[in-house]
Symmetry: C2
Subunit: 364 residues, 2 copies
């Protein structure tokens, strides 16, 4: 888009700290590469709750809809843990996904050579690991109705959630996975519990149909979710693209991220449908959460947030060149031996959030 | 119990092969330690489907109810993969859990020193690992109604499952976890997605209430399921007992098992409530499935099945001494350098199913 409208939502915990370093990268792009962004900042999560009474105020949703892309920090923290269910800071991200129709969450799990030691797995099992998890994020048990906790005549409570998938919801996210696979190693592993769940049975059928009709050139494999967790933890390199529903995708993408050992390095994108106007809603956020235990200490790793911005440049603004510049700058900083606390290793130099941002800028 | 009624259900795939070696151990107990079991064999899974038209015939359920303990092999295989949903071999185990009220699935994830190399994780992260996963197995999304795939007026399909938990179902499995923790390292990590799911919110509340009222001496920690997957894959030794619902327990217990690298070594027990008569239904099965790829080749590791029988002796028959004898015999075989294919390592001697059974007998 010509004007590149960007909505930035720092949120809670380390969100504002890592977003701050990302803004320095944005300023560099404006200054050195004469790219102009139209930037707005908004409220989301606990801070939005404190200020406006809602974790995702209408203004934020409107601003997100008007923007060409949203850069999201993280939400939540102990301060809001005891609030009622409808006041959760998490509603910040959940409502944005739902209201903007952000159905395809792309989560790369990548092991960079300089960070091989950070993985809990043996070197040869993760060297060069590069998995892309495609997770459905607007449906399933996260949103299905009925849901709630009710109290019976005997005073006993029952908790209910509904896992519901419509075939179109499955087909559209499957297409995203197959398309990505074509640009990668041409293999999709679709995850479900088709041996237990009815929605899983439909999931498997629809993915198979989309594959047959539109992507027969891509290798497709179906795997039960429990087995997928096992395979990830023992032979992760067998995977290229993993396709999963909202709940399995949540757990498996965090698992895959943890296997890399460098959560502080992993970005994500969540995409909507391409609209008739060509516009496509998109939100970019680091995989790590708000990390309240280290918030405010200036030690968080800003790389995942900066790399989320690089994903934004690539996917939403078609600025592949600038994205690659940023990615390479981060790799060079690592190769030079600088490490934030989360990826610290013997013999390396430990640095904080802003020195890391500084170092990336210097490499740029 | 005086007469020790045992129902053995070999099932499909490698089930019959690993059960065969376990029967040799049983014969040894009868011969050498003058213990008499009243043994019956029954049909379950694909073989039951082929023979009787049902994956879990009524006779099997009746025999299981009449028995003091059930020793289960495994079910499923490609032969039955294309059958309709109500003909799945998996119904074999699902119906037994439901009809016998087997609500507490105990899955140890243990790393034995001689098998340290089998783990994908670095040695110091898993040396001495000993986690117990307590999974709820009679409720949740596995059984909640409504469930099904329906076709709308537009010809489009929708798949629905219901995740439903009643507070008593949560409380009783929580008690099992807390009681186990007291005999171990006194810590329970309860897993949910209370930030997203209503049933998860109830889960967290009820586990907290049971803790406060009855087990305040045990350390209790709540953890989101995605974070738990992450923590398992990076710092597994932080856990003692993990308590989870049916679906999260399925995925997380397989993950924990995979981390040990020796799936072929891991047993499990699934327990019902203690009835007024003192009787308690119980089923014992290896964690590994039917492994159709190696079925019939005589190379499966019978240890998990034999160790499941040891768990049976301990929990259902109070025969701690015999159980320990069997466990030690297996450890000695490993220490002696014998390995089945699944746990093979350089410098060890590769053996098949029956030689492994033989070796255990010799150590006994
Ligand atoms: C914060 C939470 C609601 C969210 C989710 O479960 O989707 C998070 O875990 C994620 O994966 O983005
Ligand atoms: C076979 C299948 C139905 C079963 C389950 O999902 O419970 C299995 O994965 C298990 O964990 O025992």
């Amino acid at each position: 888009p010509a004007n590149k409208k960007l909505l930035i939502l720092p949120g809670d915990g380390i969100g504002p700290e890592v977003v701050r370093e990302t803004r320095r990268i944005i300023e560099w792009l404006e200054r050195r590469r004469a790219i102009t962004f139209e930037i707005e900042e908004g409220l989301v999560g606990g801070i939005a709750l404190d200020t406006t009474g809602s974790a995702c105020p209408d203004e934020t949703v409107e601003a997100a809809k008007a923007a060409d892309a949203v850069l999201f920090g993280s939400v939540g923290g102990p301060k809001w843990d005891s609030l009622p269910f409808d006041k959760r800071p998490e509603l910040g991200i959940l409502r944005l996904r739902k209201d903007l129709g952000l159905f395809a969450n792309l989560r790369p799990a990548v092991v960079l050579d300089p960070l091989l030691d950070a993985s809990a797995l043996k070197h040869d099992l993760v060297r060069g690991l590069n998995i892309m998890i495609v997770r459905e994020t607007t449906s399933g048990v996260y949103f299905g109705e009925p849901r709630g906790v009710t109290t019976g005549a005997d005073g006993k409570r029952t908790g209910v959630d509904t896992q519901l998938y419509h075939e179109d919801e499955i087909a559209r996210v499957a297409r995203v996975a197959f398309e990505l696979a074509r640009q990668r190693r041409n293999k999709v592993t679709s995850v479900d519990k088709a041996n237990v769940m009815q929605s899983g049975r439909l999931w498997r059928a629809v993915v198979g149909e989309v594959h047959k009709a539109e992507f027969a050139d891509v290798e497709l494999e179906h795997m039960y979710a429990d087995n997928c967790a096992m395979q990830l933890a023992s032979r992760p390199k067998q995977f290229d693209v993993i396709l999963a529903d909202n709940l399995f995708g949540d757990v498996l993408s965090d698992l895959a991220a943890a296997l890399t050992g460098s959560l502080g390095m992993l970005p994500s994108a969540t995409l909507g449908e391409v609209q008739p106007t060509g516009k496509r809603h998109a939100l970019y956020e680091p995989i790590h959460g708000s990390a309240p235990d280290i918030a405010g200490k200036g030690i968080a790793n800003p790389s995942a947030q900066i790399l989320s911005f690089a994903m934004l440049l690539k996917i939403s603004f078609g600025m592949e060149e600038e994205a690659v510049l940023i990615e390479q700058a981060i790799e060079k900083v690592l190769a030079g031996g600088l490490r934030t606390a989360d990826i610290m290793a013997p013999g390396m130099a430990r640095i904080g959030t802003s020195v890391m941002g500084e170092a990336v800028l210097r490499e740029l």
